[in-house]
């Protein structure tokens, strides 16, 4: 006998998009919202100073038990599966994409345009920034996207180090304080940042937004039911129809007692791997290739961005350690104007101690102890180091995929996902040019500051801020879902956040994923009665 949970809206997954979407829905419509999360609750704020210290002292995970065992998948996959998801680890960096991101085909003749444009998403960027509390300053128009309102918080001040580095960076492009979901002023009951400098992986004071704060507030107010330790294994259709009837789940502590979650509307907010994975697992006679997959696009066009980074020694007296996770940002190269060959990237500058750390041996190989070690350290610390990094846009191939791996199964015999990234033909052809151009830019920056590269620039092959797998499109031939995340095949099934992204842009993408989710919320809530003014929490 299955345990049945009834709801109006069932959200699968509890990451950052799910949290802020649930908050919006709870404020704006009369609906019973049930959120299903396979992982556990995370330790409360009161424990985080201790966990942070253990992490610093010994490298221990500050988020113990934040994943499911037995989920070693083929392909790069972050392991966090807990209330709050990956955003419990995030650095709180919240740039917007620029208008060009949504029109790369029209502007540059590469990749695909999104079915939305920047202007359409802009109000939801603002809403996302206000909900999480972003501190930022608007960059100059030629180097930053437009915005309709100021940031909800003043920008985080630049450190003394970044103030020194800014004029150097601005010989290349305009730079400004990195927008961040970290409090520069008290915000929604959370503290001001005090430079603990461990934003990723853990903020011990709650100055950085993380989704658990939203869940705690929603649960305390009885606005959502969050069911933890419960893994959704498949979605079932109404017999003879394409509507979703219920989700079939298993509670990890009571595997012999199936759980069914019934709802009028289902929202997949399980991230870039688990959302398409669940659709593929839910294959049935009507949809033998998986739900929402009549046109075969589920699990395709997985995207992200690679980066090139370098350390540059400069004739500047810097003091590394003041607030190393804060940075200068420029989007100048995300807005390049006309291009002979497609290349877009962001650019960030951090303080660093690379090349000026204490060391065991001097250049002659002599072991350094005591005063000798200190003198050597001081000598090398007389000059400063900047870390520079550029994420560059990688356009996804249709064969950049999440598929079912029948050779690897979880404890309930469900196939695990297999993740295979692949650049589009055009991105693959441009890769050498892209990385070489960025390396030359770093060399130019070093020369402009009378400095030098500490070592050759490094290319990180990992595609960061991954998305895709259920991309949005103008029609079923181009996407799994429409611009609101509604799947073309199932009128009561939505996918939100990262999986719906058409491309990964070339900057941190979390804010965009949330904005997409909030835009979807306007359609998800439509069938339900609107809440009377004053009954929400906004």
């Amino acid at each position: 006998m299955a345990r049945v949970i009834e709801s109006d809206i069932c959200i699968v997954g509890s990451g950052i998009t799910a949290a802020l979407l649930a908050e919006k829905l709870s404020e704006e419509c009369e609906a019973k919202i049930v959120v299903v999360e396979a992982g556990d609750d995370v330790p409360p704020l009161a424990q985080r100073s201790r966990l942070r210290q253990r992490s610093l002292d010994y490298g221990e995970s500050p988020w113990p038990h934040d994943h499911l065992d037995g989920y070693e998948v083929d392909g790069i996959q972050s392991r966090s599966m807990c209330v709050g998801g990956l955003a419990m680890h995030w650095g709180g960096v919240t740039p917007r994409f620029t208008p060009e991101d949504f029109r790369v085909k029209s502007l540059y003749g590469v990749g695909d345009d999104w079915p939305i444009n920047y202007d359409g998403l802009e109000p939801f960027y603002q809403e996302a920034e206000e909900r999480m509390g972003v501190a930022g300053e608007h960059g100059p128009p030629e180097a930053d996207g437009p915005r309709s309102k100021p940031y909800p918080q003043p920008a985080l001040p630049l450190t003394y180090n970044l103030e020194l580095l800014k004029p150097w960076g601005e010989e290349i492009a305009p730079f400004w304080s990195q927008p961040s979901a970290k409090n520069s002023v008290p915000y929604k009951g959370r503290a001001v940042c005090c430079r603990n400098d461990t934003c990723s992986p853990i903020c011990p004071v709650g100055a950085k937004y993380s989704p658990d704060f939203t869940w705690s507030a929603l649960r305390a107010a009885g606005k959502v039911e969050l069911v933890t330790r419960t893994l959704v294994r498949r979605l079932e259709l109404v017999p003879g129809a394409d509507r979703i009837s219920h989700a079939v789940a298993v509670h990890r502590d009571r595997p012999d007692e199936p759980v069914e979650i019934h709802a009028k509307t289902f929202v997949l907010a399980a991230g870039y791997v688990w959302s398409p994975h669940l659709l593929l697992l839910s294959a049935n006679d009507r949809f033998p290739a998986g739900l929402a997959n009549r046109t075969g696009l589920v699990g395709r066009y997985m995207n992200g961005h690679r980066n090139v980074s370098a350390f540059i020694r400069l004739p500047l007296k810097l003091y590394p350690g003041m607030n190393g996770q804060h940075s200068l940002m420029s989007h100048r190269f995300m807005r390049p104007g006309r291009l002979a060959r497609y290349l877009r990237h962001d650019l960030r500058i951090w303080e660093s101690s690379a090349g000026a750390e204490p060391r065991l041996r001097d250049d002659a190989g002599r072991v350094l102890l005591g005063n000798d070690l200190l003198a050597d350290w001081r000598r090398r610390a007389e000059r400063g180091t900047a870390r520079v990094r550029a994420y560059y846009d990688v356009l996804p191939h249709r064969q950049s995929t999440v598929t079912l791996d029948v050779g690897r199964r979880n404890a309930w015999s469900d196939p695990l996902p297999k993740i295979t990234y692949r650049d589009s033909e055009e991105s693959a052809a441009l890769r050498g040019h892209t990385e070489e151009t960025i390396k030359q830019l770093f060399q130019h920056m070093a020369s402009a500051g009378n400095g030098e590269l500490v070592q050759a620039p490094r290319v990180d092959d990992f595609q960061d801020h991954p998305g895709g797998g259920c991309r949005m499109g103008a029609d079923p031939a181009t996407g799994v879902c429409d611009r609101f995340g509604r799947t073309f095949d199932h009128e009561n099934l939505f996918v939100v956040g990262a999986p719906t992204a058409v491309t990964g842009s070339c900057c941190n993408a979390t804010l965009t994923f949330v904005a997409l989710g909030l835009m979807a919320g306007t359609e998800i809530e439509r069938p339900f009665p609107r809440k009377s003014p004053g009954t929400g929490t906004a």
Partner: protein, 192 residues
């Protein structure tokens, strides 16, 4: 950015004292791990006088050595380590370094007695340094490792100290106080 990269980021971009301990500070109280061994405090202090900068003064050296002992006492092997974006791999803290380090301290003392007819603690600084240099010279690395992965106790102590905020402050002769809670507005000022 992989978990490894993020850890490297903390250690390099975040400042010289990233991934560090607060000197003499908030090592969490916990039950000593099985196999944990307290290090001989007298020999360890003599080792500290040998490998740490004299500029720290007797108090500073004592503080660093005590902090190292407290840090070691709090160590737990086989605890899941930080994982983050871009890796499916889980890892765990390595075996407790305490027993090996305790044996190395004992060996230093025995060597001192056999070679010089004196305990390590009573040797002069040059002889102590010569003995320690010979041990560390076997290390193939140029940089300082994570303390827990140091193969010799001298390197463990040195690495531990070098990652403290106190060490960074001493190097830069300024109150940077990395990885500690400080007023946000003050970050625009030059540390003094």
């Amino acid at each position: 950015m992989s978990a490894l990269d993020r850890r490297r980021f903390l250690k390099t971009a975040g400042g010289a004292a990233a991934a560090a301990v607060a000197a003499g500070g908030a090592v969490a109280a916990c039950t000593p791990a099985p196999g944990a061994t307290a290090l001989d405090e007298h020999i360890l202090l003599a080792l500290g006088e040998t490998v740490l900068p004299a500029e720290l003064g007797a108090d500073g050296i004592h503080r660093a050595v005590s902090g190292f002992q407290a840090w070691l006492a709090g160590y737990q092997p086989a605890v899941e380590t930080t994982h983050g974006y871009g890796t499916g791999t889980l890892d765990y803290t390595p075996a407790h370094p305490g027993p090996g380090w305790a044996a190395q301290l004992e060996a230093l003392d025995l060597e001192a007695q056999q070679r010089f007819g004196a305990t390590f603690t009573t040797l002069g600084p040059d002889r102590r340094a010569e003995m320690v240099r010979r041990q560390i010279a076997r290390e193939r690395v140029d940089g300082l490792p994570d303390p827990v992965r140091a193969r010799h106790v001298a390197l463990g102590l040195l690495s531990y100290w070098a990652q403290t905020p106190e060490a960074t402050n001493l190097c830069y002769q300024a109150r940077i106080d990395p990885l500690t809670c400080r007023r946000l507005a003050d970050q625009a000022k030059r540390p003094v």
